[in-house]
C-alpha cells in the first residue's frame, strides 16, 4: 500500500503543479483583487467594478484611451497575423519541395529566428527603417531623397506599419515551421496521387495541399494573434504616443503612482488576458479537429 502511494502520478507531478499553482495562481488572485480595487495598501476591502467601469465607459484618462487602443491593437494583431499566414504558406511549400541537405539547411535557418528575441528584432528594424536608418541612406545613395525628412515614416508611425512589419518578419518563420511539420507528417504523398489522377499544379495546391495545412495554419495563426495582441516590447519600441497598443497602455497605468490608475491598468491587462484565453480555446478546438481527421 505504501508503495502504491509513492508511485502515484500525482506525487511526481506535485513539484511542478505546486510551483505553477503558487506562482501563477497567486498572480491571478492578486491581480484580480487589484483590478477589483481590493488593496491592502489603502485598506479597501470591498470589491468593486469601478476600474472596469472606468476603463470601458468612463471619461477619465483610461476610458478616453481604451477604445482607440483596442482598435489599434486589433489592427496590428489582425494585419500581422494575416500577412504572416499568407507569407508562411509559400515559404513552407517551397521548403517542402526541397530535399535533403538544402532542406535541412533552410529549416535550420528558420530556427535561427529563435535566437532573436522580439525586442532585438524591433531594435534592428528601428535601425533599418528609421528616417536616418539604413534604408533611408540607400534611398539617398540612389538620389531618391535628400534629407531624412523626405524619407517616409515607416517606424514609430501612427498606423503601426513598423510594428506590423516587425511581427510579420518574425512570425513567418514560426508559422512556416508549423505548416512544414504538417506537410512532412503526411504519411502519403497525396499530391503525387492527385497528379496521377490528372490534377495540375494549381488544382493540387487548391484541393490537396491547402486542406491539409489549413487547420494547423489557422490554429497557429490564432496563437500568433493572441501573442501579438498581448505583447508589450515591440509596440513599446516601435509605437507612437497615440494611439498606443493596449499592453503599453496597461503597463503605463499600472506603473502610475496613483493607486486607482493601478487598478485600471490591471483591469486592462485582465481584459487582454480574457480575449487571449478565448482565442487559445478556439485554437485548441481547431487543433483537436485536426487530430480527429
Amino acid at each position: 500500500m505504501r508503495k502504491r502511494v509513492l508511485s502515484s502520478p500525482w506525487l511526481r507531478l506535485a513539484p511542478a503543479l505546486l510551483v505553477i499553482g503558487i506562482l501563477f495562481g497567486t498572480s491571478i488572485v492578486y491581480g484580480a483583487g487589484q483590478s477589483l480595487g481590493v488593496m491592502a495598501a489603502i485598506g479597501q476591502q470591498e470589491a468593486s467594478l469601478d476600474a472596469y467601469r472606468n476603463v470601458l465607459t468612463g471619461s477619465g484618462p483610461a476610458g478616453r484611451e481604451f477604445w482607440p487602443s483596442l482598435g489599434f491593437s486589433l489592427w496590428i494583431s489582425g494585419a500581422s497575423t494575416l500577412l504572416s499566414a499568407l507569407g508562411a504558406l509559400p515559404v513552407a511549400l517551397w521548403l517542402n519541395g526541397r530535399r535533403g541537405q538544402s532542406q535541412q539547411k533552410e529549416t535550420l535557418a528558420l530556427n535561427w529566428n529563435l535566437a532573436f528575441p522580439h525586442l532585438v528584432w524591433a531594435v534592428a528594424l528601428l535601425l533599418f527603417l528609421s528616417q536616418s536608418g539604413m534604408l533611408a541612406r540607400l534611398a539617398a545613395f540612389f538620389g531618391w531623397v535628400q534629407t531624412p525628412a523626405d524619407f517616409p515614416v515607416l517606424v514609430r508611425d501612427r498606423l503601426g506599419f513598423g510594428i506590423i512589419l516587425s511581427y510579420v518578419t518574425k512570425e513567418i518563420p514560426f508559422l512556416a515551421l508549423i505548416v512544414l511539420a504538417v506537410l512532412r507528417s503526411q504519411p502519403e504523398n497525396y499530391a503525387v496521387v492527385a497528379e496521377n489522377l490528372g490534377a495540375n499544379r494549381w488544382q493540387r495546391l487548391r484541393y490537396i495541399t491547402l486542406p491539409q495545412v489549413l487547420p494547423a495554419l489557422t490554429a497557429g495563426s490564432l496563437l500568433v494573434f493572441a501573442y501579438v495582441f498581448s505583447a508589450y516590447e515591440v509596440p513599446a519600441v516601435l509605437g507612437v504616443r497615440y494611439p498606443r497598443a493596449l499592453p503599453v497602455l496597461a503597463l503605463d497605468f499600472f506603473t502610475n503612482p496613483d493607486l486607482s490608475s493601478r487598478a485600471e491598468g490591471m483591469a486592462i491587462s485582465f481584459l487582454i488576458a480574457i480575449i487571449v484565453i478565448l482565442l487559445a480555446v478556439i485554437s485548441i478546438r481547431q487543433n483537436k479537429s485536426i487530430g480527429e481527421t
Binding site: 511542478a16 491571478i28 535561427w112
Partner: protein, 265 residues
Amino acid sequence: MSQRLSTYTLQLLLYGVLATPLVLFAVYAFSERWFFPALVPQEWTASPFARLLSDRRTLQGLGESLSIAAAASLLSLAISFPAARTLGLRAFRGRQAAWLAFFVPTVVPPLAIGMGLNIFFLQIGLAGSMLGVTLAHLVPTLPYTIFTLSSVFARYDENYEHQALALGANPVQIFFRITLRLVFPGLVVAGLFAFLISWSQYLLTLLIGGGRVLTLPMLLFSSVSGGNPASIAALSLLFVTPPVLVIAATARYLGQHGAAVQEQY
C-alpha cells in the same frame, strides 16, 4: 526556369531577412560619427564597444541575465523532469487536467502575470531580488520544459531501464547510467528553450525586479529610448550573442548525437 528564379528569390529573401539584423548591428556598433546620408560609416571604431564594456551596468546586466536564465532553466528542468516523465509515460485519471494546468500559464500574457506577482512578491519580500525574478521566470519556462520533455518521454521505452534492472543495476545507477543518457538530447533542447525564454524576458523582470534587477533587456530598453544608434547596436549584439552561441552549440550537438539517439526509437 521561372521556378528556379522564384526559388532563388525566396532563398535570398529568407537569408536576407535573417542575416540583416546581425550585419546591421555589426555595422552600427563599429561606427562613429556616421552622418546621414553616408552609406558606410566614415570611421570604423570599436569605441562603442569599449564604452559599453567599460560600463559597470553592462557587466552587471550580462551577469544577472546569465545567472537568472541559467538558474531558471536548470530549475525548470529539475522540476519538470518527474512531471514530464509521468505525463509522457503514464495514463491516469486527471492527466488532461494536469495538462491544462500547465497549458494555461502559457497563454495568459506575462503582463497580467507580472502585475499580479508584483503585489504578491512585494508582500513576501521577493520583489526586487534576483531570486524573485528567477521564480517569476519559471511561470513561462516551466510549461515549455514540461511539454518538451513529456514529448521526449512519450517516445521513451522503459524496457531499457527494465533491462538494466534485471542486470543488477539499482535505481540510482539506472537513473544516471541509463535514463539520463537516453533523454539527454531532449534535456538539452528543453533547457535551450527555457534559457531563451528567460533570456528574452523583459516584462516579468521589470515588474518583479522593479528596476533593482538589471538584465540586458532592461538595459536595451533604456538605451533604445536614449537613442544613440551605435550603443544600441553594440548592446543588441551583446544581447543576441549568447543565444546564437547556445543555439549553434545545440545544433552541433544534436547533429552529432541526434542520429545515434534516433536509432533507439
